[in-house]
Symmetry: C3
Subunit: 398 residues, 3 copies
């Protein structure tokens, strides 16, 4: 991406209306307008362009970014760290477990106490249905109030690094990958994408990926198919979002319980395991009651249920039924690869291998998406500021 292209993107950005993102949070993609979503992609691409040109996009001379991971994370942790570092923020982990930053008053207080010089808070909390998103909103509200009441000198904005409902940094990175693979917004219109369940020998993979995908890709006029065995339903509210999106964008949203039907003539396939929504709700209840025996029993039952659907595997045969036999295979990684990371899993090794490079590229967009979210929430005139970064052209590596 050369300087001319970057200039063009900055001009495109200037034409979009995203003023509402300034000093605001990023929870769910469907709370954002079309222009706001496009602005995020555009800023991500501009930041990528600047870095490829060895131009610094360090907009913070100092400032902290807090990360709070309530679930183990390597990939998202490094994506967040990369994004913050790119912009000049230093990441500080808030390693609180579930005890100290817990309920009511304490969330408000702790959130404020760590935020005196904090510009961004990134949270991953995807383990319990009905909890993660609620917690993020509570933290964001607490520091917003702290700012408005004068306790904080700046408003820390929140970036959802995965909650129980959505995984916006993943779905946005995935979508940017599609835009760059197919050639832009006009080219993805009418394309068929199969978001489909796949068998995994492990238990309780989060729902936020399939939900994020159907909640976002339906906004681009795509034909989105959600496929899973009966019993593996996602949250009904998100299905409603997908339906509304499809109606508005001129695409479609269809459900099926056949992996083969989903793959048929698909342009893009996204086969991935997840846990049933109803079971995850039950687990949250059991967890709330401290019923560890109940949780163990549920886990056993779910693994047995999974095992009935070992045929849900992304095979070469299935791939050959896609559009021209060469649908773009996607995965948020890590995948359960048959014969590699498990005896039988989500995908045949040869399929996975063939798409390794594009998948790495898919993942490479995430730091830029996170950086774009931060940029748009912290900078008042992003197009102007990006233009000045380009002109100043401070080298990233001297």
């Amino acid at each position: 991406m050369d300087v001319t292209k970057i200039r063009e993107l900055i001009k495109q950005l200037a034409r979009l209306d995203y003023h509402n993102m300034y000093l605001n949070d990023f929870f769910l993609t469907w709370e954002k307008s079309e222009d706001e979503i496009l602005a995020t992609f555009t800023v991500a691409e501009i930041l990528r362009g600047l870095r490829l040109q060895n131009i610094s996009s360090r907009i913070f001379d100092s400032g902290l970014a807090i990360s709070l991971f309530r679930d183990q994370s390597t990939r998202t942790r490094f994506s967040f760290a990369s994004a913050c570092n790119l912009l000049g923020l230093e990441v500080q982990d808030l390693d609180e477990g579930k005890s100290q930053v817990a309920h009511g008053e304490t969330v408000r207080e702790t959130a404020n106490m760590v935020s005196f010089m904090t510009d961004v808070i990134g949270i991953r909390d995807d383990m319990y249905i009905g909890k993660g998103h609620t917690y993020m909103v509570e933290v964001a509200q607490a520091v917003k109030e702290g700012f408005l009441e004068g306790g904080l000198e700046q408003r820390p904005t929140l970036v959802n690094l995965q909650c129980d409902i959505d995984h916006p940094t993943q779905s946005m990175a995935d979508m940017l990958h599609l835009l760059n693979s197919f050639g832009g917004v006009e080219k993805v219109k009418g394309k068929k994408i199969a978001m489909t369940w796949a068998y995994s020998p492990s238990y309780g993979k989060p729902l936020s990926v399939p939900q994020g995908i159907i909640g976002l890709m339906t906004r681009f006029g795509m034909n989105v198919v959600l496929a899973h065995p009966k019993g593996y339903e996602v949250m009904p509210e998100v299905e409603e979002v997908a339906k509304r999106n499809a109606a508005k964008s001129g695409g479609s949203f269809v459900k099926t319980d056949s992996m083969a039907a989903a793959f048929e003539k698909a342009d893009i396939v996204y086969p991935k395991s997840w846990a049933p929504f109803a079971a995850m709700e039950k687990r949250t209840d059991l967890y709330g009651k401290g019923d560890s025996e109940g949780i163990k029993a549920l886990e056993k039952q779910l693994l047995a249920q999974n095992a009935k659907f070992k045929a849900w595997e992304c095979t070469e045969k299935l791939m050959s039924s896609t559009h021209e036999g060469s649908a773009l295979y996607m995965h948020c990684l890590p995948a359960d690869i048959t014969g590699v990371s498990c005896a039988q899993g989500e995908v045949e090794a040869s399929v996975f291998d063939r798409y390794r490079v594009p998948m790495y590229r898919e993942a490479s967009y995430k730091p830029y998406i996170i950086a774009a979210m931060i940029f748009l929430s912290k900078i008042k005139n992003p197009a102007d500021t990006l233009g000045r970064l380009l002109e100043k052209a401070i080298p990233r590596i001297f």
Copy 2:
């Protein structure tokens, strides 16, 4: 705070004598002269002013700050991280437990081995009477020698982030809050501040906060009352410091075992639980002997003793007895709030709630106090350097 005000503060700073702070440590507030204390407040306010004006006060282009927390910490950890980040230092945690950085030769060696590019060392070690301060002095001495002998290229200076004797970053932030709330050094003279014990259902809260408060506030001509039930004495040496300070500053230092007497007509109240000094000494001995049964028994005994003093609570009724019924309520946080964080605690919920915003502001000064301590120990001509930062006016956010 506008640029004119910042300029004025820089002029005030230039008139103070604080040359002895350069390349020196900050252990206890009473080891510092009046001018040195005032210089710290002034630099803290200038740094705050610069940040409010979006002006960078990044004086380090590179450099490490080591943090060593021998007690769990969230607030102080983030305050230290914020202060260091503001000035351009990167924090590296020294997570050694008590084994490797232990006794004699090893303290000297490890302190030097981690300090080759270290400008500041911040330590929190408040758990054991007679240990924390001693350890800090040992570390500071080790790296001072390392510097003088030529092993280190710069002298890392030590910031006491809480020891067994004093908690200077807390008491200084508290005092700056008073100065800003009441309108300056002249206005706090003659004000009555009640540093009083309060009931908590938990065990072993450090003495360094009340000690820090009576050791610092007595220097400002204030009438300082220390109130606690019999048996909750603080370190006698610090009481001596408070007496001497009061005599010199024209204030007073009085002790009482009545919370009501302390609150009567007080302008400021600071109700907070702490453990008795004698019991903490005993615990240190038991710990030294590895007598965990003895420690358990002591804990049980102290909780039973605490329970006799549940009446020591900061209630609305007590608050109404203060000056015009509206004393400034202070707390270092987190507080034990009756009916919120515990069944019965240090303060009634309605009192706490009314003062939440000022308390958050109180806490917000700590990063600036720490940054000021670092600034004064690492920069030879602080007034000059701050003036240059103001003129250069590099934006914190581009």
Copy 3:
């Protein structure tokens, strides 16, 4: 070191041929040419000179450095952090244990997933014979491929922070200490260095230090003596390297089982404990089989074997037999000091004490050596870039 001296070093650097270090890894010193080794020393000295002149050598405006420590570390951790910070890189620890970043596909994937904005990866993996170096090569290969295939925008280069074969950042810091102590490359020629085993009450100290020393010091025309009791052999491959080096450089490489013979007329002594190579191989096998009983038995047997050689101690008496009774004593630290850190150990306290300051200086070179390795692998025209840093003269402390 003044500016004139720095300029001279930059000129010296420009005359060396080290183009092959650019975008390359640093695994073993003997894989590098003479010029590449000299270039590393020269850049280290230039960076040290710049810092002593308060001139920033921050070449990265943003960028991550990943550290992966498979063995506990304080000294190396802080050396790596210092080096990265000096150049402007932010360290992110990859704290994966042995499970997630494990074998085959996963190493490749994880290495790429964390490296989207990573410039350097530093790994310490010295615990198991045949594993550490192999693992580092695998990681480096994975990200090299990721870069070449287009998944990564830059190539992260690897710095070996200690493997089973070599400890290049240690041996290079040690050698730079010798060069500066004796007055340069010409002056160390013909000097006798005794790399000798010494008794320690602990078990399983890595072989990489003695191997690193004999693998590097033999390149400088020195007379290198490796002394150890029978049964404490190092890896035969590295002895072969040492022999070849000595033949080429005009020095010598001799083995002996007498500490006294090694010390006799030595100019430099490096007495240090290590575990026998054969035993370490056995331990790796036992570990692979999960035979923890076998490991315990082996440990017991090795400690008993060690105890037979308590006479292998660096005493004043032995020191007096060295050249003019004043050989330079070296140690990578921490040392087992008789009567200080253990009842009986590697060195008499009075010897250790006398050399404490030079040893601290020896250790102080490590951050610069690491920074030089990074510099040479990431900057295309190092002499030119260093010249520009010197001219620009941005202060490290404002």
